[in-house]
Amino acid sequence: MIQGNMNDDAIPGLPEEDSPLWTRVLKHSAILFSLLGVWEFLTAFGYADPLLFPRPSAIFSSFVPLYVTRGIVWEHLWVTMSTVLAGFVVGTLLGIFLAVLAGLSETIHRYMKPYVIILEATPRIAIGPLMLAWLGFGFGAKLAIVTLVCFFAPFINTLTAILSANPAQVELMRSLGASKWQTLTKTIVPDAMPMIMAGIRMAMASALGGALVAEFISSNTGMAVLLKNLAAMLNMSSAFATLLSLTVIGYILYAMMEGIERRVIFWQNDAGLRRVSAQRKLHWEARA
């Protein structure tokens, strides 16, 4: 039942379009702007309550006080991002480290399994209030929640990948006289890398959510607090602007992970493979 998950969160089945870029951009923005236009007019003519569904123009104009004139967003943004990144790094490293330990010993794995299954079924974020009681209202509780949220996907994916290592390859390494360490670093880990990276990507995706939940329940700074206060004051246009900022942050984190994945598992895309082969060729020629 412990099973890794590749969870490809890109939209499948989108072939390359041969029409030039500008026509595509034009079509997409035509659709976007007509949707926004409909919304604008619905609110402007009173079909939707402007208090709850602010006009798109109001949302975009409220970016200005948030970011420029009053600049209230920066402090919250900084707090949230530091929680996200710290928790992500700690949780992912911990998950991978423990998974490697568990993956190398059959016994540890067997006796750990029931607890992992139970922990997997528990809504991890739900432990938030408990963390708050344990660690107080500071950075510690938030870090612990994000760490916990980030821990599982890398842990389970690494474990699955290591357990499904190709026995023939391991046997080959053994018969070539490789040490255990060499077998681990030269075959098992590279073989497991796509799965591990998928886990890390999932962890990154959940880190932002985890940090926001932690802020909802325990904090007085951070993007979630800002959003909550704005929505509570029924300043919906600014609330939407904050939400859109979170979308952008989420996209940046996602794109960052894609980039890292592309570099780490370079052998899975043509460009990366060509680049690394060229580098290695240069390196070997220089040595020769």
């Binding site: 989108l14 006796y111 809504p123 991890r124 209030p129 408990l130 009681a133 509570a232 939407f240 996209y251």
Partner: protein, 297 residues
């Protein structure tokens, strides 16, 4: 298939497992580890090595469970509220996700123009929408249902879409050349072909629906298991709080098992024992009708 393998598989029920020494030893070790862990914890609690406010002893947690479930019985209502919110949200979000995924699978144009919005939805942490949903739908159940629906939407959408897109071209061609209508091809080929992936998405989504409902309760609620836990931990009644957390784990496990069972029912051809059972049934049914027709003629 090979009858021997299946019968021996069916034979290996609990009775044979209980006489299996290796199996018994493993169960025993599992139990030993678990009780040693609990024992050390209890000992540390009793001898005052643990702060009661931070980590109550197992006996205190058991007492809290007893109080919650038997003495006051207050947990059942909260349990039901959260369960209801998660399941209803799951159905709403799942229906919308599957509907849009079917439309996107059938039309390349629609897929192309919906893709940016789906990506934007995916990268936005759904939880962040909670305050806005509370402003829209109020403090009651509906805001939690909406959040659960929002969170389950994406995994179901993506899995349904990629399942439907994986339809084998040759089989589709065969359907066409046998004169199957488009609807027929859809229901008899595309849907069954996509079912394993759809169910994988549904399984992920079910647990996240629970998370959505609980988090929305943290933000603002008067009833539900999330708010119950938050109240206990604000009161520093950590034992009860951990008891509620254990109940949440139980609910998560329960929902997961339901989905697993549904998966085994619907996608029976992916599980060997279910496949055998279904083929046995069908064989019986078909041979029954065949015998009846023979008798009639």
């Amino acid at each position: 298939m090979n009858g021997e393998v299946t019968t021996s598989k069916r034979g290996s029920g609990l009775a044979t497992q209980l006489t299996d020494l290796v199996f018994l030893r493993r169960i025993f070790t599992h139990f030993g580890i678990f009780s040693a862990f609990i024992g050390v914890w209890e000992w540390a609690g009793r001898t005052g090595r643990l702060n009661d406010l931070i980590m109550p002893a197992p006996s205190a947690i058991a007492e809290a469970l007893w109080r919650l479930y038997v003495v006051t019985g207050q947990i059942y209502w909260h349990f039901f509220v959260t369960f209801f919110e998660a399941v209803v949200g799951f159905f709403f979000g799942g229906a919308i996700g599957m509907g849009l995924a079917i439309a996107a699978a059938l039309s390349l144009t629609f897929r192309r123009y919906i893709a940016p919005y789906a990506v934007a939805l995916n990268v936005t942490p759904g939880i962040a929408v909670t305050p806005i949903f509370i402003a829209w739908f109020g403090f009651g159940w509906s805001s939690k249902i909406a959040l659960a629906a929002l969170i389950v939407f994406f995994p179901i959408f993506v899995n349904t879409l990629s399942g439907l897109l994986r339809t084998d071209r040759d089989t589709a061609e065969l359907f066409r050349s046998l004169g199957a209508s488009k609807a027929r091809t859809f229901f008899k080929l595309m849907i069954p072909n996509a079912a394993p992936m759809i169910f994988a998405g549904l399984k992920i989504a079910m647990t996240s629906a629970l998370v959505g409902a609980i988090v929305a309760e943290f933000a603002s609620a008067t009833e539900g298991i999330g708010i119950l836990m938050q109240r206990f931990s604000h009161r520093l009644d950590i034992a009860s709080s951990i008891a509620v957390l254990l109940s949440m784990a139980l609910m998560g496990l329960f929902l997961f098992i339901i989905m697993e069972k549904a998966d085994r029912q619907v996608v029976f051809w992916k599980h060997q024992d279910r496949l055998d059972a279904v083929s046995r049934n069908r064989r019986r049914r078909w041979s029954g009708t065949a015998a009846k027709e023979l008798a009639r003629t």
